[in-house]
């Protein structure tokens, strides 16, 4: 390489560089020598939980009753959250994609899955219901949006990032009986583009994209409300939630024999804490103040009404072999499963 085209190292530059190096090195050493009294519990979590702020409340409460631990959250899509746990970089995961969760436990990396909350995905779209989906169920609404899309009068934005929300969206398209591979190629009227837009982005970015394009998209309620509150988007809820849009959040602990971090007991403590009466009661009201609407429904109390609709739906969609966690995937679970 030629030299940097006449950029000369004069004395001032050298002093500046020396200062930067010294400050950086000093900070690094200071950080290393600080006493680490608390053990760090690393929770790999989906973005939809993280963005609501509920995790900060959980962290504060858990650390208050268990001062020996410091809880850190890594906010990722469900795919990477699981990959992070597999690589031994996290102690437990909080996710919302039952099929991926089963795969995670089948490979022996995860144990003691516990459902702790649920809510419903919503289909949001431009105000004024231009496609006339009001009153339809999610699947009929999606068929209608496609029809309008084919004539160039509607657009659909997909997360396209293999996140829990994306997996749910694919399941909903499967229920329409259409092939997603074919849908992706369908033109939007004569415009040259397709009516199905695959974003490959996070929930907020996808909502913003849908907002810019007056398109429809599937969103989790929490991220949607947060963006509405921030004034980022003008999209409205287009379709009422129902059985098909159920969204179930579970915790899975990394198997002690696969995890090099040795935090199994602490992780179990955290899962017990999630399922405790206090946390479940907190989840029931969380969001009212900040978003004007609750964001989650606690799952554990529902178990008292085994005949209810919601229990039936969760059993159908989020149970694995008829259980929250089949016995072969349980490990020193104590009183976690009643």
């Amino acid at each position: 390489m030629p030299n940097l085209a006449g950029f000369k190292l004069n004395r001032n530059v050298m002093i500046a560089v020396a200062l930067i190096v010294m400050v950086t090195a000093g900070g690094f050493i200071w950080n290393l020598t600080r006493p680490q009294e608390k053990e760090s519990l690393i929770v790999s979590t989906t973005t939809s939980l993280y963005e609501t702020g509920v995790l900060d409340v959980l962290k504060t409460r858990f650390e208050a009753s268990n001062p020996e631990y410091n809880v850190s959250f890594i906010s990722q899509g469900t795919g990477l959250a699981i990959e992070t746990a597999k690589r031994g970089d996290a102690d437990l995961i909080l996710v919302h994609a039952p099929s991926s969760e089963l795969a995670f436990m089948e490979t022996g990396f995860g144990v003691n899955r516990k459902i702790f909350a649920y809510n419903f995905f919503i289909i949001v779209g431009p105000a004024g219901d231009p496609t006339g989906v009001e009153g339809l169920g999610p699947v009929e609404a999606m068929l209608r949006i496609r029809e309008m899309g084919l004539s160039g009068n509607a657009l659909w934005v997909s997360r396209g990032d293999n996140s829990g929300t994306h997996i749910k969206e694919k399941a909903l398209w499967a229920m329409t009986g259409l092939s997603l591979d074919e849908i992706k190629l369908e033109p939007a009227g004569g415009s040259g583009g397709t009516w199905y837009i695959e974003a490959g982005a996070g929930m907020t970015a996808t909502l913003q994209l849908a907002n810019e394009k007056d398109a429809y998209t599937l969103a989790d309620v929490a991220t949607y409300l947060k963006n509405v509150k921030n004034g980022n988007i003008q999209l409205v809820k287009a379709v009422d939630s129902g059985e098909e849009t159920l969204n179930v959040y579970s915790a899975i602990v990394c198997a002690p024999d696969k995890s090099p971090r040795g935090m199994f007991d602490a992780s179990m403590l955290f899962v017990q804490f999630l399922a405790s009466d206090e946390t479940q009661a907190m989840l029931e009201t969380y969001g009212e103040e900040e978003f004007g609407s609750t964001l989650f429904k606690p799952w554990v109390p529902e178990l008292d009404n085994p005949e209810s609709d919601i229990v039936t739906w969760v059993e159908e969609q989020a149970y694995l072999d008829g259980s929250e966690c089949p016995t072969q995937y349980r490990h020193q679970a104590g009183s976690l499963y009643r």
Partner: protein
């Protein structure tokens, strides 16, 4: 187990290249296109601007140079955020419809690399500057002719500035993420595809795309070195790569 994704990545990269995977080619071409447009726009503005700044003496020259030097380190997300608000439908430039298009991403990258281009070009010209210009003048050249001589002599410095700018645009993630949103078949480029595959937990594919990105950067730089052969003499390009000028 820790090496698995990298090994998978290498073999996946080789497989994708050998099989001429349609999607990968499309994404790679879009990356080249976006960064190419960006470099073109930036050089159309930046090179004349640099010549003026380097050649003319005027009040505030030092400030302008300082500003461009300082802007070299601007974080791409900050710039992306700023441009996103400008380009958004409800923003001041919303009517241009630049958001979520290749043109919008290219414009964003052009803004990003302009300071690099100007800073490098100005110092390249200035390093060849005054003595050469004086010499040309004493040999009877006009002010304009003397300036041309300087720019011609600064050729390799200006090339380096262009190449660095292109590389920066080609490899950046923040602006294309915010202005393009990684839409498949429309604004998906190599860096956003890598970020997406990583976020999806597809580490092997992420590495494969990363290797392709690196390969393109290396190939381009080798080509440019090769074309400098004419100026550097026989085997000059080899010495150029090895750092012996």
């Amino acid at each position: 187990m820790s090496w698995t994704p990298i090994i998978e990545g290498v073999s996946e990269a080789v497989r994708l290249i050998l099989s001429a995977d349609k999607t990968v080619i499309e994404i790679t071409l879009r990356s080249l296109q976006t960064a190419g447009y960006a470099t073109l726009i930036a050089s159309l503005v930046g090179v004349p601007l640099s010549i003026l700044v380097a050649m003319l003496e005027f009040r505030g020259k030092g400030t302008i140079k300082f500003l461009f030097n300082a802007m070299v380190g601007v974080p791409t997300v900050t710039l992306g955020l700023f441009l996103w608000t400008l380009f958004s439908r409800s923003g001041p430039l919303g009517s241009l419809g630049l958001l979520y298009t290749v043109q919008g991403m290219a414009l964003g990258q052009a803004v990003l690399i302009l300071p690099i281009l100007v800073s490098f070009t100005v110092s390249a010209i200035e390093s060849k500057g005054n003595e050469l210009r004086d010499l040309a003048r004493t040999l009877g050249a006009s002010e304009y002719q003397a300036s041309l001589v300087v720019v011609r002599e600064a050729y390799s410095g200006v090339t380096l500035a262009l190449v660095s700018s292109f590389n920066r645009a080609f490899a950046e993630l923040g602006i294309v993420t915010m202005l393009g949103a990684n839409i498949r078949g429309v604004t998906r480029v190599l860096t956003t595809a890598i970020a997406l595959e990583t976020a999806s937990g597809e580490l092997g594919l992420s590495f494969a795309l990363s290797f392709i990105l690196l390969a393109v950067v290396l190939t381009l730089n080798l080509l440019i070195a090769f074309f400098q052969e004419g100026r550097l003499g026989r085997q000059g390009w080899l010495r150029y790569i090895m750092g012996e000028r």
